[in-house]
Every structure is written in C-alpha cells, then in structure tokens.
C-alpha cells in the first residue's frame, strides 16, 4: 500500500482529534458539569450583578478555590489522584478520541517507514516525496510555500513522534485522571503532536519554523498546564519550579534562540532566494554564496537549536519545564521537541558539513560536548527525580550534537536521538508512575520501591541501563559510536581530543547519576540482589505507594522493548544516508561494536560509573560524605546545587539590564519627549502670560502703541530711503 502518499493523514489525525475535543466533547463536558452544579448549587450563580449575590459569591469562593489550590499544590508535585474522583464521561471520550487518532497515526507512520525500508523506487529514496504543496504566495522567483515532504529522516522522526505520543496519550488517561483540566490537557497534547509533525514534515524553513514555534507554544501551554498553581512555599530545598514562571521561561529562552535562528534563515534566504531544504542542501544553490555569510548563517541557525534543545547557555528552561505534568515531560521535554534542534542540524547536515566553513560544525560540537559534561555534573547532585532526568536529557542532547559534529553524516546523531527518545520517554513515564504512586518527586523520600511497583522498577532499570551505555542495550549502540567517532575526529584534527575527553567523562558521569537515581528510588541498602531490587526497609517515605493502573504500566512495558532493542537497527546509517554508506548485517554490527578498543574503554567507564553508584547508593558502603566532607568538595557541591548560578545570572540580567532599559525608555518618554512637548506648550503659555500684561485695557496705551509703531515704520523707511538708498 502506498503509505507515503497518505502521510498527510499523520498530522491530520491529531488535528482532527484536537478539533473534535475542543469543539465537541469539551463543550459537552462543560455543559454536563454546569447542569450538575446547577442541580446542587441552585440559583446562587444566576444572580450576576446583584450586590448581595456577589457578596455571597465572594464568601463562598474562598473555600472553593482554597480547596482548588490545595489540590493543585499537591498535583503540582505529583499526587493528584485524590483530585476529585473519576474523569467525567465526555472528558474521557475526548481522551479516547485522542488515543485512537494517535494509534492510527502511528500505524500510518510505521507504514511510511516500512515503505521507505522496502522500496526499490530510487527517486523516492533519493528525494523523498512531497505530500502536500500549497503556495502561500510567490513574489517573482521567491516563493513562500507550505510544503510537506517525507524522506528517510522524516520517516524516522514520524515513527518516534507518533509512537511516543501515542503511548503518552494512553498513559495520560491514567496520570491525569480526575484533573479539572483533563480535556484541555488532551487538546494541548494533540496540538503539540500536530505541531511536531508539521516540524518534521516541513520541506522548507517556512514550514519548519511554523512547526518550531507551534511546538514552543504547546510546550508553553503544557508546562504551564497547572497555571493556577501556587508557588512553592519558601523553605523547601527541592527547588520545584512554579508552572507559570517555568512556562514563561521556557518560551522566552527558546525565543531568544529563535532570534538567531530567524536571522540565520534570513541570511540563507537572502543568499539563495529559497527556503527549500532540497534546494538548500544541493551544492548548486550555494556555489556563489559568500562562505563567511554561510558559516555565520549556519551558526545562527544552530542558535535556534541551542534554544530548543536546551544547550548551554540556553539550557536553563528545561529543568524548570519539569513543572509540567510528567507525561508532558516525557513527550516534549525528553523525546521529541527538545530533539528538534538535533533534527534541524541533521536536516541541514549537507550545508553544515560541505557548504559552510568548518567553524560551524565545530561550534555545534563544542557547544554539545560542553553541555553534555556541564549538565551531567549538575545532574549528580539533584534530589528531584525529574530534575535528574531533565539534566540527563540536556546532556544526551549534547551527545547528539557531538555526534552530528564529528560524524561523516547525520546518522550518528539521529540514531542517538532515535534510541534516546524511547529510553528517556520510558524513564520519564517511569518517574511519573513513581510520582503518581507517592505524591512526591523527592528522591530522599523514596527507596526500595521495586517491592511496591515492580513493573515500573523493571522497565526503569532497562532504560537506566540503556542510557548508561551498558552493553547490548540501545544506548550502548548509539552512544559508543559517538564517543569513538569523537576520538577519530581528534585524530584527524591534529590530536585535539577535547571532544573525546568531554564525551568519555560524561559517559562515566551519566552511568553514575542514572544509577544513583535508580538506587535512590527503587533500590538501596537491605535490598535484594545486592541492592538492585529494593525492599520495604529501604523505603524512606511515609505515603503508601499504590501501583499504577494498566493504562499507565502498559506504555512502560511497550516502551521497554525499543528502549532495550532499538540499537540493533544495524543498517540505520545506510538507511538514513540513502545508501551512501554500506549496509551492515546484524552480526557484523555487533562484532564491530565490541572489537574496537575504544568501545571497550567506553564499557569500562560505564561500568565504573555504575559501580561507584552502587557503592555509594546501592550498598551504601561509600557514603557521599567522603566527597562532600572536605571544603573543596563542599564548594563544588554548592556550585552544582546552584546550577553554576546560571539562573541567578539570567535573573540579574533581566532585572537590571532589560527592565532597567525598559524603565529608562519610559522615563525618557515621560521626561525628555513629553518634557519637550509640554515644555513648548508651557513656553507658549508663559509668553502669553508675559504679553498679556500689555493688554492693559488702556485704550490710550493701545493708541500710543499703534502710532508708536507707525512712527517706527516711518523711521525705518526714512532710514532705508535716506541712508541705505534702497
């Protein structure tokens, strides 16, 4: 079946779901709710403008909203199961529509991928296929076209997006159960899915940018989903982000990156006269383009990726974005949207690699490598389970950029994106199950949970092994080649092994902090299998953990398979590069993975990280005080706890520089511009007040003035005629 031609169905399905929920089930739900509340509350609401009525209204509402606040404060930190019972019927119907749409979309996406894998049509392989073309407008030879195109890269992304989105939709039915904004959540989730699909389907910068901004919007909406939550009370050291602030921060920080992105697009458009990726990536387009401008443009485009993929120095929003519901973190802030930056660089890989100067990819590599290490160090000390995962996401995205920078093609980075999407989504959904079970996300109040929620623990362990680069798991196959390639890159670049050093150290740290998180949550001392499988005694919290419902554990189990096995797609590079690299069969693939000395070093490093975590948190033979006891260690710990003071720096800049400038402009307007305007008005009035004195009402004075004036004119005339001889 010709799936590719029907690929437009993939974004259309969640769009239809969104519209159906927005205009269909949500109004019905609200209607039903109003009818229900009308039956109980009586006529109190209907008397709108009456003073007495509003007074009673005001009386009644503190109780209502105080209750609302409490539940939201709680739901904010996870436990919203006691939020008011079951999901209303129409809300549930809406979510079912969303899930069904996503399942269908996922199957079409898989069909598209399979078609690309099996097709013999060389044209399709080389150029992909346009599935939608519509000219917004055309000025001379400049066209602003809405164009969707499917090729191998898009096909991979489609599967990732629809797959994770489908599972997250399903999972959310359980996670968001009974939330007052249940329908809104599914609308926004569908909106995100549509936007992300537009982003990956876009065949030119215009469409990509549309998707790019729309995912930013849905990220904003979903991070701020609990927009009415109260900020964390002072005194808590968990530093939980406040959803409205986090949403704002996420949007603005990524927009700052988009500023560079937009300028990059402008330079490219000006130089080449086209937005189209196909045209941009073909050598003929940029032969006459200034190399320096092109390099600058590519670096600026990368700025957009830095913002969206939370790379240093614009990484600050992603940890805060954890204020959103956990399924959102899994879908948007781990698996798909944050990977859009990687996708962008991969999409433009020929431009980066062949057309622009080498500086562009160097910037990508070093920013990525530095961010990987930087985020990993912060992740070492986090106590919030979602924060750990957030910093790990930032770190892994850094890997992907390194992979793109050092690789001969874009397969390395995208392959890591591909595997990462599954295991990181799994990690987040697992953490969501934990939060749902306990009502807290503080790892210090967990421990030994494997006894209570074994499925979650097992799947979480799979994902942890995968991300740590443990042999035979997906992460190993996608991450170790990046590290190896970074070494080769160093060799071919005059022995500059900086990137290799950054990535290998990060690999160690990753293994350590991920297992630290695992042990703190699920394992710990007194546990079985040397602390890997926790026990009741290891549990440090008070709340009674309750196991997740099937809609929540089923996605975990499903995701565990790709999280473990996605790495075995041996011919991924061959597929993605359209056959430019040789296809590898599976046994050669595994053999080559283990035959390299560098790989072995990577394995050793990962194992060392796991071992250290096990010593410190698994059997707790090595207390953390060993490191934080001395002053230097304490200082470093404080530095890491404060995230290198980046947030404070930004806060200062915004408070004093941006707002300072803002107030300066207002003062300038008020005192200088209006000062001049009002001043000239005052001057005229003053002049009037002064000359008013001459209007004394004395007619003889006027007469004297008239004739004195005539006399002066007369004298001037005499002067002109008699003296000047005019």
């Amino acid at each position: 079946m010709d799936f590719v031609s029907y690929a437009w169905v993939i974004p259309a399905l969640p769009l239809a779901a969104m519209i159906l929920i927005f205009f269909g089930t949500r109004p019905l739900e609200m209607l039903a709710r109003r009818r229900a509340s009308g039956e109980t509350a009586g006529a109190g609401h209907s008397a709108g403008h009456d003073h007495d009525a509003s007074a009673t209204d005001a009386h009644a509402s503190p109780a209502v909203s105080a209750q609302g606040e409490d539940t939201h404060g709680a739901s904010h930190s996870g436990g919203h199961s006691e939020n008011g019972g079951a999901t209303p019927f129409w809300a549930m119907a809406g979510s079912v529509i969303g899930v069904v749409a996503m399942v269908l979309a996922f199957f079409v996406a898989v069909g598209v991928l399979v078609e690309f894998l099996t097709t013999k049509d060389n044209n399709l392989i080389q150029h992909g296929q346009y599935i939608f073309l519509f000219d917004w407008f055309r000025f001379g030879n400049l066209d602003y076209t809405i164009a969707f195109r499917v090729d191998q890269l898009t096909a991979v992304m489609l599967v990732v997006v629809t797959g994770v989105s489908m599972l997250v939709h399903l999972y959310s039915i359980g996670y968001m159960e009974g939330d007052p904004g249940y329908s809104r959540f599914f609308i926004e989730l569908a909106l995100f899915t549509v936007a992300m699909l537009i982003l990956v389907l876009g065949a030119n910068f215009l469409v990509l940018f549309i998707g790019w901004e729309l995912v930013g919007l849905s990220s904003y909406l979903l991070v701020g989903f609990w927009f009415d939550a109260a900020p964390e009370p002072p005194g808590s050291d968990l530093d939980l982000p406040y959803p409205p602030a986090a949403a704002l921060k996420a949007f603005l920080t990524t927009r700052l990156g988009d500023f560079g992105f937009m300028i990059g697009i402008l330079i490219l458009f000006f130089s080449t006269g086209t937005f189209d990726f196909g045209a941009l990536n073909s050598a003929a387009t940029y032969t006459h383009v200034n190399q320096v401008a092109l390099t600058a443009a590519m670096i600026l485009v990368f700025c957009g990726a830095v913002g969206k993929s939370a790379q240093f120095p614009l990484h600050v929003w992603l940890p805060d974005a954890m204020a959103g519901p956990t399924p959102v973190s899994a879908l948007i802030h781990a698996a798909t949207m944050v990977a859009a930056g990687v996708y962008l660089v991969a999409r433009l890989f020929p431009l980066y690699h062949f057309a622009a100067g080498p500086q562009s990819l160097e910037v990508v590599g070093y920013v990525g490598g530095f961010t990987a290490l930087f985020a990993a160090t912060i992740a070492l000390v986090q106590n919030d389970i979602k924060k750990v995962l957030a910093y790990s996401t930032i770190s892994q995205l850094g890997y992907m950029f390194v992979g793109l920078a050092v690789g001969p093609n874009n397969a390395l980075g995208i392959f890591h994106l591909f595997t990462h999407a599954f295991f990181k989504a799994l990690l987040f959904l697992g953490s969501g199950a934990v939060i749902h079970a306990l009502g807290t996300q503080d790892m210090r109040k967990m421990g030994g949970l494997a006894r209570y929620i074994p499925i979650t623990a097992a799947t979480f362990l799979v994902a942890t092994l995968s991300i740590s680069g443990f042999p035979f798991f997906a992460g190993f196959f996608s991450k170790d080649p990046i590290i190896g390639q970074a070494f080769d890159y160093g060799t071919t670049h005059g022995g500059n092994y900086t990137l290799y050093g950054l990535t290998i150290v990060t690999a160690f740290l990753t293994a350590f902090y991920m297992f630290r998180a695992y042990f703190l949550t699920f394992g710990g001392r007194y546990g079985q299998i040397a602390g890997f499988w926790g026990a009741e005694r290891a549990y440090r919290g008070e709340a009674h953990p309750h196991p997740p419902s099937w809609v929540m554990w089923l996605p975990l189990v499903i995701l565990a398979f790709p999280a473990a096995l996605a790495g075995y797609w041996s011919s991924f590079a061959n597929f993605l590069t359209k056959g430019a690299t040789p296809a590898v069969n599976i046994s050669d693939y595994i053999n080559s993975a283990f035959s390299d000395k560098l790989t072995l070093i990577g394995i050793v490093v990962a194992l060392a990280g796991i071992a250290l975590a096990w010593l410190m948190y698994g059997v707790q033979a090595l207390p953390a005080k060993v490191f934080t006891g001395n002053p230097i260690g304490k200082g470093i710990h404080a530095l890491l706890m404060h995230k290198y003071y980046m947030d404070d720096l930004y806060r200062l800049i915004i408070k004093y520089v941006v707002l300072g400038l803002a107030h300066l402009t207002v003062l300038f307007d008020r005192y200088i511009i209006d000062g001049i305007v009002n001043g000239s008005g005052m001057a005229v009035r003053g002049l009037g007040a002064a000359t008013r004195r001459t209007e004394s009402g004395n007619t003889q004075g006027y007469g004297a003035a008239i004739f004195g004036g005539a006399l002066i004119i007369l004298l001037l005339l005499f002067f002109a005629v008699g003296v000047l001889k005019l």
């Binding site: 006399l711 007369l714 004298l715």
Partner: protein
C-alpha cells in the same frame, strides 16, 4: 514772498487753527476746551473757503461748529463731576504721547517735503479764493454726489444716510435711561 490778502488770510487762519487746537488740548477746564473747539471748527471752515471749497466750509460750520459743538457741550454738562478739581486732566503717560506726537509730526513734515510723491506735487500752487471769482464747485459736487445719470457717488451717499440712521437709533438706544 508776496504778501497778498489770501496769503495773509492763510497765515492768520493757520495761527488761529493751531492755537485753538492747542488750547483744546492743553486747557484745564473742559468747558473752555469745548469753546476753543468751536473756534477751531470755525477757523477750519475759513481754511476751506480759502481752498475754494465753499460747500465744505458751509457744511463744516453747520455740522461741526454748530451740531457737534452743541453735542459736546451737552455731554459735558450731563457728565459734570462735582468732586474733580480739574475737569480735563492729563493721563500719566502724557510725556510718552508727547514724544510720539512730536516725532510723528516731524516725520510727517519731513515726508511731506521729501518723499517722491510729495516732491512732485507738494509745491503745486493752490488756487486760493479770491473775492468775486466764479464758484462753480457746488454744482459739480452736487452732480458728483447725487447724479443718477453720470458717474457719481450716489451709492456711498445712500449708504452714508443709512449709517446716519443707524447712528441716530444707536445713540438713542445707548443713551436711553433704562
């Protein structure tokens, strides 16, 4: 300079004119001023006669020396203020007025003697009135003022009559005790 009768008459009239005008302006008693005003009007009528403008001279005597003087005297009588010492005082800035007037006077006299227009015509001889000469200007004036057939000022003249009517009514309305 030949001192014929008209020349002597001119200088006499001029002296009386200037003197009575100065008296009008300078005298402290307003009633005396008004009387000298009548003298001045009469002297002016003499000047008109000298200029062969008999009709104007008659009108001057009738209207100015007669009507206006009476009017002024009535006004003085009706507004007589018992408290004031001087009925015809000067304002504070009289010195300023004096400077302006003297300078303006010199300016005017200088202009009369020196400007291009004045030089061309100022020394034109004036036909002073001689006794028994033909006095035809009244007829011509009449034609010029009233004739409906030849070029005349009949329309302005009619308008002037309307102005007079308005002035009469206005004076009544304003002066009426209410």
């Amino acid at each position: 300079m030949s001192l014929d009768i008209p020349t002597i008459a001119f200088y006499l009239i001029a002296i009386v004119l200037v003197g009575s005008a100065l008296a009008v302006v300078l005298l402290r008693n307003i009633v005396h001023s008004a009387l000298f005003l009548a003298v001045m009007f009469g002297a002016a009528a003499g000047a008109y006669v000298l200029l062969n403008a008999e009709f104007i001279a008659i009108v001057q005597v009738l209207i100015y020396a007669g009507a206006v003087t009476i009017l002024v005297l009535f006004a003085i009588m009706l507004t007589r203020n018992a408290q004031s010492q001087s009925s015809n005082p000067f304002a504070k800035q009289w010195w300023l007025a004096l400077i302006i007037c003297v300078l303006l006077g010199f300016g005017l006299v200088y202009a009369v003697g020196n400007s291009a227009m004045a030089v061309a015509s100022a020394f034109a001889p004036v036909h002073l009135a001689t006794l028994g000469a033909d006095s035809g200007t009244v007829t011509r004036l009449g034609q010029l003022l009233y004739s409906p057939f030849v070029y005349s000022y009949v329309l302005p003249f009619e308008i002037a009559s309307v102005v007079l009517l308005v002035a009469i009514i206005g004076a009544i309305v304003i002066g009426r005790e209410d």
